[in-house]
């Protein structure tokens, strides 16, 4: 028994002194390996009488468990120490700068068109498009603007060269020709918006030779001025995100609508700055009206059966008002500083359910 006691003390002592996992392994092999000291004692048990063998075997097993336990806990301890050392070594400067902003920006015109689509889409409108180089017929004649009409003089039209048949194509002066193309190609009911490029021969601080408009057209059997008002009031309030935005309709004139109305929204100009909302002043933002019976006739739609309304507005204008962009010309200058300041992150997709703007 003394020898066992001695062996135990020796092994446990060397386990406690071990400085590495390798040493521990040597100790384990020396004690518990095939030729190990404990294993050797186990082998000697066979020579003992049955009763003595059971007793000695149990004692030896206890010793074996004890040594295994000691090696295991010493090994865990060494591993922990090793990890702690490695972690200390792996320390880096976490204040080093990293690149977060690798995204580009969406142009305010695109974003505004997406907003318009979200709002009018909710009201049952679909998006229609059309060519920029137009026939005189679609841009003027079908819209009740005959060649001698004063309105034609007021729209500074870009012309392309005369063709062999004497006709001259124009760069569309408004998105309204898409009304005509739509009415000629599909039967009512019609409910479309038409965002797109338009061109007028005008260039100064508040005019650009190219700009964007959105057109709206509703044709059915019952829509009237009351619906026009309802539709546009809802739009203005949703777009500018002001629930109590005052909206005013004034009589006006467009060759392609009758009755016609211009639409103002409330604003305040106090202190020199323009603020959209209830403020005692008015700001014109769009033109509208009931589609002129002649326009319907020009599109082979019977004005005694069908009627509806149309409206149009400048996309840059409403974007400038909503987002406080001061200068129209800057939209087309592709100045990186401007694009990054006024642009929108790509994940910011407007929707009426998720939110129009943030």
């Amino acid at each position: 028994m003394d020898s066992q006691e001695k062996l135990r003390d020796e092994v446990l002592k060397s386990v406690a002194q071990a400085q590495s996992l390798d040493t521990l392994e040597q100790i384990r092999v020396g004690a518990l390996g095939k030729k190990g000291s404990i294993t050797g004692l186990m082998k000697e048990l066979g020579a003992l009488a049955q009763e003595a063998r059971r007793e000695a075997g149990a004692a030896l097993n206890r010793l074996k468990d004890e040594i295994e336990g000691a090696i295991h806990s010493a090994s865990s301890e060494l591993k922990d120490k090793e990890l702690t050392r490695r972690l200390a070594e792996e320390r880096v400067d976490i204040t080093l700068p990293v690149e977060v902003e690798t995204q580009g920006r969406i142009h305010p015109i695109s974003q505004t068109i997406d907003e318009l689509t979200a709002i009018f889409g909710e009201m049952g409108f679909t998006v229609a498009e059309g060519p920029h180089i137009e026939d005189d017929f679609y841009n003027f004649t079908a819209l009740n603007i005959p060649p001698e009409h004063p309105a034609r003089q007021e729209q500074d039209t870009f012309y392309l060269p005369q063709r062999q048949d004497g006709s001259r194509r124009v760069l569309r002066t408004h998105t309204s020709p898409v009304q005509i193309r739509t009415m000629l190609s599909q039967r009512p009911p019609i409910r479309i918006i038409v965002p797109g490029r338009t061109f007028r021969s005008d260039h100064d601080a508040t005019h650009s030779p190219m700009f964007h408009q959105v057109e709206g057209l509703v044709i059915d059997k019952a829509s009237h001025m009351g619906h026009l008002k309802g539709c546009l009031i809802e739009f203005c309030r949703a777009f500018f995100d002001i629930d109590d935005l005052p909206v005013r309709f004034r009589p006006s004139y467009f060759p392609f609508t009758e009755p016609s109305a211009e639409v103002d929204i409330g604003c305040s100009r106090e202190g020199g700055g323009l603020k959209i909302g209830a403020g005692g002043d008015w700001l014109e933002i769009l033109g509208s009206g009931m589609v002129h019976p002649k326009v319907l006739e020009n599109c082979n739609i019977d004005p005694n059966e069908y009627q509806g309304f149309a409206f149009g507005m400048g996309i840059e204008r409403i974007a400038m008002l909503k987002y406080g962009i001061p200068d129209l010309r800057t939209f087309y200058e592709t100045d990186l500083r401007w694009l990054r300041h006024y642009g929108f992150v790509p994940l910011d997709v407007p929707s009426m359910v998720g939110g129009l703007s943030r």
Binding site: P97, E99, Q103, G104, R105, I106, H107, I109, S110, D114, T117, G121, M123, G124, V127, G130, P131, H132, I133, E148, H149, P150, E154, F158, Y159, L160, P161, R163, R168, L171, I193, R197, S201, M210, H224, M225, G226, H227, L228, K229, G230, C231, R248, R250, P251, S252, E258, P259, S260, E262, M290, P293, Q307, T334, D335, L336, R337, G343, P346, L347
Partner: protein
């Protein structure tokens, strides 16, 4: 169209305030653009009495005056000949700003005499061209009284925007008529009774074309023994208030008639008219020296008023200098006519003459008011210039303007959205001068007023009723949708444009929007510049060609940004380019450009210069966003001429080009004054096939293999100019079922390889479906792959 409040009140008997009238006008569709209060600028100036005026000791033409201003006596030095003791003048104190020149008046010494203020002329006040002497106010004017008030200049000027259809409101009376109809007072009567003529007009009128429409009616009258001096103050003030220069009584009367009752006149000096007056088409190359001092060459499409000597005026546009009235005129021949709106507009446009007459004739004038207008004008001439009037001589007739339209009172509700009773509608229409009777087909028969040529149907009548009732009375009704949930607003083709846009932005490119036109020279560099796409009337020579590509705009923009210190950038635009002038010639493009380096030098990323592969990656990412099957795309080295011939190509799906990509040709960059390298791409979005939706939305069933995939690497030595795609394709085809991925991970040329060779190393992923691959199977596959690649590429497995 301008008027003053007081002028408006000469036609409108109203108790409404300025604010009320302005609000009413706006809601009638007569938008008030501005209200100018001239009294503001005149505020500092007051009536002052000259106590004494003595000769300046050192200047012959100056006088030293002592002036009582009401706030004390002040000495001023004055050069006006009419400055004298006892008179009442207009005093400008030190510190006031003279309206004419905007100069602040300072205290000064003039030739040794102190001057602390000024006595002003009408010229200096900005109210007249008369600078002969200082203003003399009535002697009973209280000293210290506001000059603006005393002179009646505290009358605000309204600037009213008249829409093109409302020609009838181009006279103050027309505006008053609308206000009266809307219940803002009563229209005052105007004396229209004929002035009896005492002799027959010696000048007769002959209408001779060019056709009957050119001048349907011409009314004339001779008035002799007139004295044509300056017009009276009330008339001058009205003209000045709306920005017209008073000239002489006769000319001022014609201008006044134009703006007061919207009836243009022309006044000929009868002494300068030779023979009778003929209205005819101009003779080819006939010329006229107009009142504005310019000489115009005419053509037969233009209507002229001529005498025996030649053209005396361009009908409805402008008069001639030779027969105009001046202070020597003693006999005047007044013309009131109707000229064809279309021809008048065309003449004015061709000759580039803007005139108040043209503006009105173009928009159509009241055909019933020609003779009436003549009586009103005659009365004014007799009153202001004396003389005696001839009988009226007229040629032609009032054209038939009468027409009736059915008006169904329920249309105010069904079209206008507001219920207005039949009686109320009738009252409104009658108040606007329409004749209303009960028609046969359940509705009114409405005869629009003679001055409302713009009303041409029931919709116009509905608008009239709504306008007077007030658009504010129309209840707003929410739009009802046909379906409980909205339809999809965007077509699949439209929707994917948004995906492409946002995918490119997410890759770090900023979205630009640039003009659809560009300089012709740039268009030519990018395959454009065709004659049918040149703008005839460009805004500037820089914007005269419809763009054949968006790239030049982006290249120029990138260089502009580089010049500002932002050389490393990525831009894109989703927009049109134009191949011809038909709708089909317009293509929707997603075009992008990268310039400089991937970014500034960073501690963790040295970055790299823009190259063809970045453009290719952008293009493929955008095509993927558009839904193109990018694994089937084939790159071919056949780029258009504006790309680097060896570092660019096309991406095709079968034979169809989906995109171009690559480095921009250095010579092109030089021509655009841009510094490279720049690499770009152009995606033909319309060409990308749309997904087939017939099969429904369900995805194919996902089959997952239970067995481990295996990866193997191979390297091949091939000819240096071998297209890598060929090798990759051969590897993929080696066993279509087993190979699920082939990735090129190394391209090497140089030491250790024979001249003219390169090494391409690939990693191949094998995915068994039925059982785990055995070493023997893998070995067998490897042999097949090597054989296939070697056969396809002529290369050999690298030892």
């Amino acid at each position: 169209m301008k008027t003053t409040l007081a002028w408006l009140r000469t036609h409108l008997d109203t108790t409404a305030t300025l604010d009320e009238l302005v609000a009413a006008l706006v809601m009638l569709g007569l938008e008030v653009d501005g209200i100018e209060d001239r009294s503001k600028a005149l505020k500092p100036f007051t009536a002052a009495k000259v106590i004494s005026a003595v000769q300046h000791p050192n200047a012959d033409k100056l006088r030293v005056c002592i002036v009582e201003t009401g706030l004390g006596q002040v000495q001023v030095v004055c050069g006006a000949p009419n400055a004298r003791a006892g008179m009442v003048g207009v005093f400008a104190p030190v510190g006031s700003v003279i309206p004419r020149n905007g100069m602040e008046l300072r205290e000064g010494t003039i030739r040794g005499e102190a001057s602390r203020g000024m006595l002003c002329s009408a010229y200096e006040m900005g109210i007249s061209e008369d600078h002969e002497g200082i203003i003399e106010l009535p002697l009973d004017t209280p000293v210290g009284a506001s000059f603006a008030q005393v002179a009646g200049l505290d009358d605000p000027v309204l600037d009213i925007k008249i829409t093109p259809n409302r020609g009838d409101c181009l006279g103050v009376r027309g505006i008053a008529r609308d206000l009266a109809a809307a219940g803002f007072g009563k229209l005052r009567p105007i004396d229209e009774t004929p002035v009896p003529g005492t002799f027959a007009s010696p000048i007769h009128i002959h209408l001779a074309g060019p056709d009957a429409k050119a001048c349907p009616l011409f009314v004339g009258r001779t008035i002799r023994n007139v004295k044509n001096g300056p017009s009276p103050r009330w008339l001058q003030e009205r003209l000045l208030a709306i920005g017209l220069r008073p000239i002489s009584a006769l000319v001022d009367i014609t201008n006044f008639m134009t703006f007061d009752v919207n009836r243009p006149f022309h006044a000929f000096d009868a002494g300068k008219v030779a023979g009778d007056i003929v209205v005819r088409g101009a003779r080819p190359n006939e010329t006229v020296e107009a009142l504005n001092g310019k000489t115009y060459t005419l053509d037969p499409e233009m209507t002229v008023v001529a005498d025996d000597k030649g053209v005396q005026s361009l009908g409805g546009v402008i008069g001639s200098a030779s027969s105009g009235c001046d202070e020597t005129t003693t006999t005047v021949f007044l013309e009131a006519a109707l000229f064809d709106p279309i021809r008048t507009a065309a003449t004015g446009r061709k000759l580039n003459v803007q005139s108040d007459a043209r503006y009105r004739f173009e928009r159509g004038l009241d055909p019933e008011f020609v003779t009436t207008g003549m009586e009103i004008a005659t009365r004014l001439v007799l009153e202001l210039c004396g003389g005696e009037a001839s009988e009226v001589t007229a040629s032609g007739a009032v054209p038939d303007w009468k027409r009736t339209y059915r008006f169904r009172p329920e249309r105010t509700q069904t079209l206008g959205g507001v219920e207005v009773s039949a009686d109320d509608s009738r009252v409104i229409l009658e108040s606007l001068g329409c004749g209303v009777s009960w028609g046969e087909q359940s509705g009114f028969a409405v005869l629009p007023a003679s001055w409302r040529g713009d009303i041409i149907g029931e919709a116009d009548l509905v608008e009239e009723v709504l306008r007077i009732r007030g658009y504010g009375q129309i209840p707003a009704i929410p739009m009802e949708r046909e379906t409980a949930l909205p339809k999809i607003a965007l077509s699949p083709a439209q929707r994917r444009v948004g995906f492409v846009r946002r995918a490119l932005a997410a890759r770090g490119l900023d979205e630009a929007v640039t003009y659809s036109f560009m300089p012709q020279a740039q268009a030519e560099l990018f395959g454009g510049g065709a004659a049918d796409l040149r703008v005839d009337n460009p805004i500037s020579a820089d914007l005269d060609a419809m763009r054949p590509s968006i790239l030049p705009n982006l290249i120029v923009a990138a260089q502009r940004n580089a010049d500002r210190g932002f050389a490393d950038l990525g831009l894109f635009e989703v927009g049109p380019q134009y191949a011809n002038d038909t709708p089909e010639g317009q293509a929707l493009m997603a075009t992008g450009l990268r310039a400089g380096r991937t970014g500034p030098k960073r501690w963790d990323d040295p970055g790299r210069a823009t190259d063809v592969y970045m453009a290719k990656a952008d293009a493929m990412a955008a095509l993927a966003a558009a839904g193109a099957p990018i694994e089937n795309l084939q790159a071919s080295a056949d780029p258009p001429a504006w790309y680097h011939p060896g570092r660019a190509g096309s991406l095709r799906l079968g034979p169809k080009v989906m995109a171009y990509f690559g480095e921009i040709h250095p010579a092109i960059l030089t021509k655009l004054d841009a510094k490279g390298p720049m690499a770009g791409f152009e995606i033909f979005l319309d060409e990308v096939p749309l997904p087939r939706t017939k099969a429904g939305r369900a995805r194919p069933l996902l089959k997952l293999s239970a067995f481990q995939p295996v990866e193997r690497d191979f390297a091949f030595v091939v000819d240096r100019d071998l297209a890598a795609a060929k090798l990759l394709n051969a590897a993929r085809q080696a066993d279509k079922k087993l190979v699920t991925g082939v990735r090129l991970f190394d391209v090497y040329q140089g030491t250790g390889l024979p001249e003219g060779k390169k090494s391409l190393a690939i990693n191949v992923t094998l995915q068994p479906e039925a059982a785990t691959l055995t070493e023997v199977e893998i070995e067998g596959f490897s042999k097949r792959l090597v054989a296939a690649v070697e056969k396809a590429t002529g290369g050999t497995l690298r030892a």
